[in-house]
């Protein structure tokens, strides 16, 4: 514990800028993954334990596209769409067959998918870690704001993830499709009775959730290792986000992701040996004080 140093940091503009920028980037990347997870749970009632693998696949698709074209925009698009298509396939041919069955069956099917995708990646791309590297276009000296350091690429990442979050919020809150999805989450039987094909809605929601995970994988590929099994650690953090934010709540997921992002960035200054522990402690406190999570409805 070095709370003196933490106190010194929060009273220093340069330190606050650096840590806030880092916390926002970490948090927003986490939000992309966790929002997909919580969206799928909220509508389909499925705990997608294979969500981390879709993040990993997004990173590999992006790396392949970047290697082939040299375009980061195409790489992100390939990662997002590739993971969305995989999610669609996964939902239609596997998960849709076990709707309504107990969570153990979901766990088994998802675990099988994790193993299959990990092995497929090893066969196609090899077991070694791979690195995309920051694209040349984003290789600029870091921005210095108030004496604090904000890497140029992190500013781009934050911009893209924030845009995706806004589009997601607008799509879920202001469009007809969003209203149908929210209705299907509450009462799928009634939605079906109104002549809306809930099978298509479920598939679309799963594809969107998978696409969000793929986008996170693609966006983080330049700064993280692309490696089989890369989705495991992000999945654990995503589950912490969904518990803190409330299962099924996009707004809660955003708040929880940012809380975890800032816990990581400021925790590395004040309590570097307890950063991981602090995240679980926050989760435990939320479970005790508000079991439905920050954005969840009571009783959910």
């Amino acid at each position: 514990m070095d709370l003196t140093e933490l106190a010194g940091c929060v009273t220093s503009l340069s330190c606050v800028v650096t840590q806030v920028a880092a916390g926002l980037t970490i948090g927003m990347l986490l939000f992309l993954v966790a929002s997909g997870l919580t969206l799928i749970f909220g509508v389909l009632g499925i705990v997608n334990f294979a969500h981390g693998s879709l993040y990993m696949m997004g990173a590999y698709f992006a790396l392949a596209a970047y290697t082939a074209t040299g375009s980061f925009a195409l790489a992100v698009l390939a990662g997002t769409l590739g993971a969305a298509l995989m999610g669609l396939f996964f939902e239609r041919f596997l998960l849709s067959r076990i709707y309504g069955q107990d969570v153990l069956m979901q766990l088994l099917v998802c675990y099988a998918v994790i193993l299959i995708l990990d092995d497929a990646v090893k066969i196609i791309w090899g077991a070694d870690f791979m690195s995309m590297g920051v694209p040349e276009i984003f290789r600029h000296p870091p921005l210095i704001i108030g004496g604090g350091i904000v890497p140029y690429f992190y500013a781009i990442l934050f911009g893209i993830t924030a845009l995706i979050a806004i589009v997601l919020a607008w799509g879920m809150g202001r469009t007809r499709f969003g209203r149908i999805v929210r209705a299907a989450a509450i009462n799928p039987g009634m939605v079906g009775a109104l002549g809306i094909n809930t099978t298509v809605v479920y598939a679309a929601v799963f594809a969107i959730g998978a696409g969000l995970a793929g986008a996170a994988g693609a966006l983080s590929a330049p700064i993280r290792s692309v490696v089989p099994g890369a989705g495991v650690s992000i999945l654990i953090e995503s589950f912490i986000v969904t518990v803190i934010g409330g299962m099924g709540s996009i707004g809660g997921a955003l708040a929880a992701s940012l809380i975890l992002g800032f816990t990581r960035s400021f925790g590395s200054i004040g309590f570097p040996l307890f950063v991981e522990g602090a995240m679980f402690l926050i989760m435990a406190l939320v479970l005790i004080l508000r079991p439905s999570g920050l954005g969840g409805k009571r009783g959910s």
Binding site: C9, C15, T18, Q19, A22, T25, I26, D118, K122, G126, A127, D128, F129, M130, S131, G133, V134, F138, R139, P141, P142, I149, P151, Y152, F153, Y154, S220, P222, I223, R224, S225, V227, P228, G229, A230, S233, I234, R264, S265, G267, S268, I269, P272, L273, V275, E276
Partner: protein
């Protein structure tokens, strides 16, 4: 009837022929049968961020084993490597080791795990009495601590304390020249990272008492994102940073730290940088990073080392790593001990290994020694230099002096009560 008797093969002829075959043919058949192979278990990491190193260990072992087998093996008995993937999990490494010994009939183990798995395997073979060579575990206490020593466990890896003394001396020299007094560290949060960093700092201060450690950060092994650690380092405003991160972890850290501009005004000392797979994976290798040699084909600059790299490159289309030379050395030591013993008796093989001195292209003076007192390899080449962006990637290699290493290592052991 009689004509049939004359034309056919009679019972006596059949018996006679069978007797002749038994006397002359069967021994020949016996000679052409391959003799029972000597099974050697190799638990290592073949998937994940360290896979490239595990694969490089296996490749180097295979080169040496093929050489041994093609030269006739041990009186016709070839070595068969049984290689299994622990996926970097110590518990899985221990389980694999136990299975190799009890179910797969392995007579020896070449433990190609890093320290995390190496300690787990160490406890397994303490119990089973299998002659084991720890090929990649660098944590000093594995062989330096007398409580960890037993007759059948050997280390053929470079050792943290040796690297730390060499690194401390080199870094202190640079620190004095450039007046680098404020230091920070970033190393993986497990036995190897903690021990090696503490030892480096101890010797940095030993050689340059004005150095201050103003902060440290400990990412976990295989952490996907180092942002929080990098911001911690940048807030510390250190003049120099030391790290014993390795392989994919080091690559990810360097890539992320570069976009923060961390190396623009801060000297970086990374003991594990100078390994081809690491150097080649970093897209924009910062110039001037100080690194200890892991494996470089031109250090030591001797024909045997060049040939080893060329042969490895010819077969696997890539260059060896630190784990490769260690693995090749382990097989060379084991096969030599087997030949000298003329069998696989574990006590006899261990006895031959203890104190063995062998010509080696990886030796500081052309030889390496399996030091008898703690059954660990000494005399291998150690040096530090600075990175450049293209082949040979490291220049101005400065070899370390083993006399200094031995002297300070002995003092360090006495200080720990291990002398």
């Amino acid at each position: 009837m009689s004509s049939r008797k004359q034309d056919g093969i009679g019972r006596r002829a059949v018996l006679g022929g069978a007797g002749a075959v038994a006397l002359t043919g069967f021994p020949n058949i016996g000679f052409t049968q391959p003799r029972q192979p000597i099974k050697v278990g190799v638990p290592t990491i073949l998937s994940g961020r360290v896979a490239q190193l595990g694969i490089s260990s296996r490749n180097a072992m295979q080169i040496e084993v093929d050489r041994f087998n093609s030269a006739g093996g041990l009186d016709g008995r070839p070595i068969e490597l049984i290689v299994r993937d622990s996926r970097g999990t110590p518990a899985e490494a221990a389980r694999l080791a136990r299975e190799m010994i009890s179910s797969e009939g392995c007579e020896f183990l070449l433990d190609a795990e890093p320290s995390s798995g190496g300690f787990a395997i160490h406890e397994v073979v303490r119990e089973t009495g299998t002659v084991t060579m720890h090929v990649n575990a660098e944590t000093s206490s594995l062989t330096a601590d007398p409580r960890q020593r037993f007759w059948n466990a050997f280390r053929v890896a470079r050792q943290g304390i040796h690297d730390s003394i060499a690194g401390g001396e080199y870094a202190a020299k640079v620190a004095k020249e450039r007046n680098l007094r404020r230091w920070m560290t970033i190393s993986p949060d497990y036995a190897y990272g903690r021990d090696t960093t503490a030892e480096f700092v101890e010797y940095l201060k030993h050689f340059h008492s004005e150095v201050q450690i103003v902060g440290e950060t400990w990412p976990r092994l295989f952490q996907p994102d180092y942002t929080e650690n990098i911001t911690r380092l940048s807030q510390g405003r250190a003049q120099a940073i030391y790290s014993c991160l390795w392989a994919g972890d080091l690559v990810t850290f360097v890539e992320q730290a570069s976009i923060f501009g961390l190396f623009a005004n801060t000297a970086f000392f990374a003991v594990n940088m100078a390994d081809y797979t690491t150097l080649q994976q970093i897209r924009n290798l910062p110039r001037g990073v100080h690194s200890g040699n892991r494996y470089l084909r031109n250090f030591p600059n001797v024909p045997g080392n060049m040939q080893f790299a060329a042969e490895y490159n010819r077969r696997f289309n890539t260059f060896p790593t630190n784990w490769s030379w260690q693995s090749a050395t382990a097989v060379s030591l084991l096969t030599r001990a087997l030949k000298e013993v003329g069998g696989t008796d574990p006590r006899a093989v261990a006895g031959k290994l203890r104190g063995m001195v062998m010509d080696s292209p990886f030796g500081a003076d052309g030889k390496v020694t399996m030091r008898a007192e703690d059954q660990t390899l000494v005399g291998y080449a150690i040096g530090w230099g600075q990175t450049i962006s293209a082949d040979p990637y490291v220049e101005n290699m400065q070899p370390s002096d083993w006399a200094t290493i031995f002297r300070l290592e002995a003092e360090w052991k006495r200080g720990k009560g291990w002398g």
